[in-house]
């Protein structure tokens, strides 16, 4: 599959963040440093393009931690391919974010 020309730097950052294990909106925001007004719409678009899919966190876990359950995003197969190709094209990008260690 040819690289999607619509995949912007923002999209690339988000895909990278996801591949590093940063799985929900705020986490992605923190690690990329992009504003929330950019992150969330971009996630919707990536999801619509089927590069990203989302699922809800297990109820039990959220309740244990005493917070609303989170919506977790992860890369689809196409998403992973897109990310690989984009990384090959944008050499400078490199690995920007640290792997998530907490969860």
């Amino acid at each position: 599959m040819a690289p999607d020309p619509k995949l912007s730097y923002t999209g690339l950052f988000i895909l990278q963040a996801l591949s590093q294990g940063h799985r929900f909106g705020f986490d992605i925001m923190e690690v990329t440093g992009l504003p929330s007004g950019t992150i969330y719409p971009a996630l919707r678009r990536l999801e619509a393009l089927e590069l990203v899919t989302s699922d809800w966190e297990k109820d039990l876990k959220a309740r244990k931690e005493g917070r609303p359950r989170r919506r977790y995003y992860e890369l689809t197969k196409t998403g992973k391919e897109q990310l690989r190709e984009a990384e090959a094209r944008f050499h400078a990008v490199g690995r920007l974010f640290p792997r998530q260690s907490t969860t």
């Binding site: 504003p35 899919t53 359950r69």
Partner: protein, 877 residues
């Protein structure tokens, strides 16, 4: 922050909103201030992306999503409740059928474009007049108009009666005819069904190529649809013309819209036109004639331009007419279909009113059945609501069901419509166009629209009320019906039906009884043994003497036929006196030559008084001598005798002349007898002078034959007597006295029949409605009835309970309907002569019929209720 988030969430498509809120509630605690800034762009992005499944292929909710499910579900429920389905579809079919039939008639009468006419909007009528009065025009004026009006192509048509026979020796019959200009069919843009139409110059040289075009109708009737008809000939007014073409089926002569069977050109105009002395003459010398002009606007001229141009271009023509027209007269160009919208709308509404009432009853019926059934299914609704169905979804389900029922009703309604039109046209004496012509695409579309509207009318109410009940009174909905009749709505529906039904029945009964009275209320004695027929020798161009001999011989022959008591000849028209009446100038001897009055006169040739069974009050009747030559004696009726102020009317001298005669040429006559005055339907009498022979040449007469027995079987004998005298003369409008009566009252008979038929249909509807409602009530109250029986109620008392409760709304409806019918009767009393607003017999009969029917309708389900087995019912709990 919560309220702000909820506000923003309104931007998110509704289906995704809960999930979106949940996600954001989870995200926000991490970094409040900065985070909320992202919510609005996010919400907006979702809105933009609407239509893309946000999560695992979830379908977005469209108002008509999964409609096929509803349809399948509806069809399944119809299959399980067959009696319900049949009752609703039957009800609706009657309503929709009646409305469609009425619309088909209205459509045919008012809204149908002319058949076979091309680009009808560009056709115009050209008239010489001042807006109110139209003047006859001469042929020269037509030719002048043709050359002066450069904005349009002008054609002329003169409608007239013709005597037509398909071949030598075959009896002639009268047919509508038209003398047209050669370009007539070209201007209308009509294509012949067979052969050709006239060439534009075919009217130029008299008798160069004597040709005729015949109607599709005549082609079928007299030429047996012969495909080679164009080689054959037709005898028109005694002359042989060759048939060149056949007009398309359903074509009517424009601009006046007459039914025409034979068209000829002005080249043979002397077949039709007569000069002042009654001799055949060419149209060019016939003087002013009632010629109709029809024109086609030449592109790109529009109507307004053409009208403006004609007003100016016609000035020369108007000036040349001189005093033959009033001031303000001009040449006018008007659209062909000059439809006065308001009048047509009123007539259409009037014709549609009664069928629409029936449709209303059908809707009420269907609504009541649907309501009862929907209430019964409220447990269903509750489950569906609990599973997350929206109220719209439930309403939609019910609407789909009602729409399907309405479509079924419409399909059956079309069948019924054909049947009803057939019924009307067989009962009505009026001529009704054939069915094939009546039902067209427009009518079908109307039926569909009616079905759709009906579905919403009868479906929406129950749908809304039931779903409302299911939502608000969720736990107890559908368990027990409250009150004696379940709900006020249902009682109101039955009341309304009974009221509408009684209103129709009583009005119909009143119409019918009025009609019976007015039918017998005429001056025709023993109508069954009287035969009337009209004759006209005008087409044969007889001299006055030949005419007299023809009629004398005919009278002799007919009078000597076996079974004939007497025979008479009177003026043209039916035997109802007024038909053959002509006006006459009468001078009284003592008033001198200055004072004359216009009086009614009637030709009483042959044994008129004997044939009409009019007794002589005084003096004597006409003798054979009186009938020879111009009248010297007259018989007057009592009303006329009363107007002669002095002494004995018999023996008085009068001076009489035809309407256009004067004192000098008038004839002195002696009154020799007095007969009773005929009483006309509104109680009036008119003075009549009976003359033994015509005052002026009268080629048309009416033959009256009084038989010893029934007249209906003796038509052939009279016809053969005529053929023996002269077989070129057609015998027209042959009718017995009974038939004359019906023809004369055709429109009243028609109305009475329609109202009665609709009343009977309404009765069937109302009975079916009550039956349905009571059955449902019984089913819904089965448990209660079971308990009653378990507690010791006897079957009979349950029966009485149900019948009593179901008949109460009927009684209320009867009272309302009676009041309505009285009001309607008072309104139409101006048109119903001789009937009091309340006809006790008609009302009593209608009420009794309604009550009996309703009693039976409620008794059947009530019997079912009285046989409820308490154990079976209570076990279901």
């Amino acid at each position: 922050m919560g309220p702000l988030l909820r506000l923003i969430s309104l931007v998110v498509p509704r289906a995704m909103r809960p999930r979106w809120l949940e996600e954001w509630r989870a995200e926000l605690p991490h970094g409040r201030r900065r985070m909320i800034l992202g919510a609005l762009p996010d919400a907006w992005a979702l809105r933009k992306l609407d239509g893309v499944p946000p999560e695992g292929g979830r379908q977005r909710s469209h108002p008509f999503h999964a409609l096929d499910q509803d349809v399948r579900y509806a069809l399944r429920t119809f299959a399980t409740g067959k009696s319900f389905t049949l009752a609703v579809i039957g009800s609706l079919a009657i309503g929709i059928g009646a409305t469609t039939a009425a619309f088909a008639l209205v459509n045919a009468a008012f809204f149908r474009p002319f058949v076979g006419v091309e680009d009808q909007d560009r056709l115009v009528q050209v008239k010489i007049g001042d807006g109110g009065v139209w003047y006859p025009a001469t042929w020269d004026e037509y030719e002048r108009l043709r050359s002066d009006l450069t904005t349009l192509e002008l054609a002329a048509s003169y409608a007239t009666d013709l005597a037509v026979s398909p071949g030598d020796g075959e009896p002639a019959e009268h047919a509508g005819g038209a003398v047209v200009s050669g370009n007539y069919f070209n201007v209308l843009g009509t294509r012949p069904a067979h052969g050709r139409f006239f060439a534009p110059d075919e009217d130029a040289t008299p008798w160069a190529r004597p040709a005729a075009v015949i109607s599709h109708r005549l082609w079928q009737r007299q030429f047996a649809s012969d495909p080679d008809v164009t080689g054959r000939t037709i005898i028109v007014n005694g002359s042989v013309l060759s048939i060149v073409g056949v007009a398309p089926e359903g074509f009517i002569n424009l601009p006046m819209g007459a039914d025409v069977d034979v068209w000829v050109t002005f080249a043979v105009s002397d077949l039709v036109f007569r000069d002042r002395a009654g001799r055949p003459t060419d149209v060019r010398r016939a003087g002013p004639l009632r010629i109709d002009f029809v024109g086609r606007l030449l592109p790109p001229v529009e109507l307004e331009q053409a009208a403006a141009h004609a007003a100016v271009a016609g000035e020369g023509l108007i000036a040349a007419r001189g005093t033959r027209s009033r001031k303000g007269t001009s040449v006018r160009v008007e659209p062909l279909a000059d439809k006065d919208a308001a009048t047509y709308a009123f007539l259409a509404v009037a014709a549609m009113a009664v069928p629409l009432i029936v449709l209303a009853i059908a809707c009420v019926n269907a609504a009541s059945l649907l309501l009862a059934r929907a209430t019964r299914r409220s447990a269903d609704w509750l489950v569906r609501l609990a599973l997350g169905a929206s109220r719209w979804r439930l309403v939609r389900q019910l609407l789909v069901e009602s729409l399907l029922l309405a479509l079924g009703g419409a399909a059956l309604g079309i069948v019924l419509c054909y049947w009803m039109i057939g019924l009307w046209s067989s009962q009505a004496v009026l001529v009704t166009p054939s069915l094939a012509v009546l039902v067209d695409v427009k009518v079908m579309l109307f039926t569909l629209a009616a079905a759709g509207a009906t579905a919403i009318v009868f479906g929406l109410g129950p749908a809304l009320s039931v779903t409302r009940a299911a939502i608000s009174r969720a736990p107890e909905a559908g368990r027990f019906m409250r009150g004696p009749f379940g709900s006020r709505t249902r009682a109101a529906l039955v009341t309304l039906q009974a009221a509408l039904c009684l209103g129709l029945l009583a009005t119909g009964a009143q119409f019918t009884s009025t009609l019976q009275k007015s039918l017998a209320d005429d001056n025709l004695q023993d109508p069954a043994s009287l035969l009337s027929a009209s004759l006209d020798v005008e087409a044969l161009s007889f001299t006055e003497e030949e005419t007299r001999i023809f009629y004398e011989t005919l009278l002799e022959r007919v009078a000597s036929l076996p079974g004939v008591d007497s025979a008479a000849l009177t003026g043209p028209g039916d035997a109802y006196l007024m038909g053959g009446v002509e006006s006459l100038r009468v001078w009284r001897a003592w008033e001198g030559s200055d004072v004359d009055r216009s009086e009614a006169s009637l030709l009483a040739g042959g044994d008129f008084f004997e044939s009409m069974r009019i007794p002589l009050l005084r003096g004597r009747s006409f003798s054979a001598d009186d009938r020879k030559g111009p009248p010297r004696v007259v018989v007057v009726n009592q009303a006329f005798a009363d107007s002669l102020s002095t002494g004995d009317p018999v023996g008085q001298m009068l001076r009489i002349a035809p309407r256009d005669g004067d004192y000098v040429s008038a004839a002195d006559v002696v009154v020799i007898g007095v007969v009773p005055s005929p009483v006309f339907s509104r109680g009036h009498t008119i003075p009549i002078v009976y003359v033994p022979s015509p005052l002026a040449p009268a080629p048309a007469r009416n033959l009256l034959v009084r038989f010893a027995g029934e007249a209906s079987g003796s038509v052939a004998a009279v016809k053969s007597a005529l053929a023996a005298v002269d077989n070129r003369v057609p015998l027209e409008q042959i009718a017995t006295g009974d038939q004359l009566r019906r023809q004369r009252n055709a429109s009243e008979i028609d109305v009475a029949n329609r109202v009665s038929i609709l009343g009977m249909l309404a009765l069937i509807l109302a009975a079916a409605g009550l039956y349905g409602v009571v059955s449902y009530m019984v089913t819904l109250r089965e448990k209660e009835i079971g308990i009653r029986i378990a507690l010791g109620a006897a079957g009979g008392s349950v029966l009485r309970l149900i019948v009593r409760q179901s008949i109460v709304p009927v009684l209320v409806g009867c009272a309302l309907g009676a009041a309505g019918a009285v009001a309607a009767g008072a309104l139409i009393r101006s048109r119903l002569y001789g009937v009091s607003p309340v006809d006790p017999v008609a009302f009593g009969g209608a009420t009794l019929l309604l009550l009996l029917t309703m009693l039976i309708a409620s008794l059947i389900p009530a019997r079912h209720a009285s046989r409820v087995d308490p154990i079976t019912v209570l076990r279901q709990e």
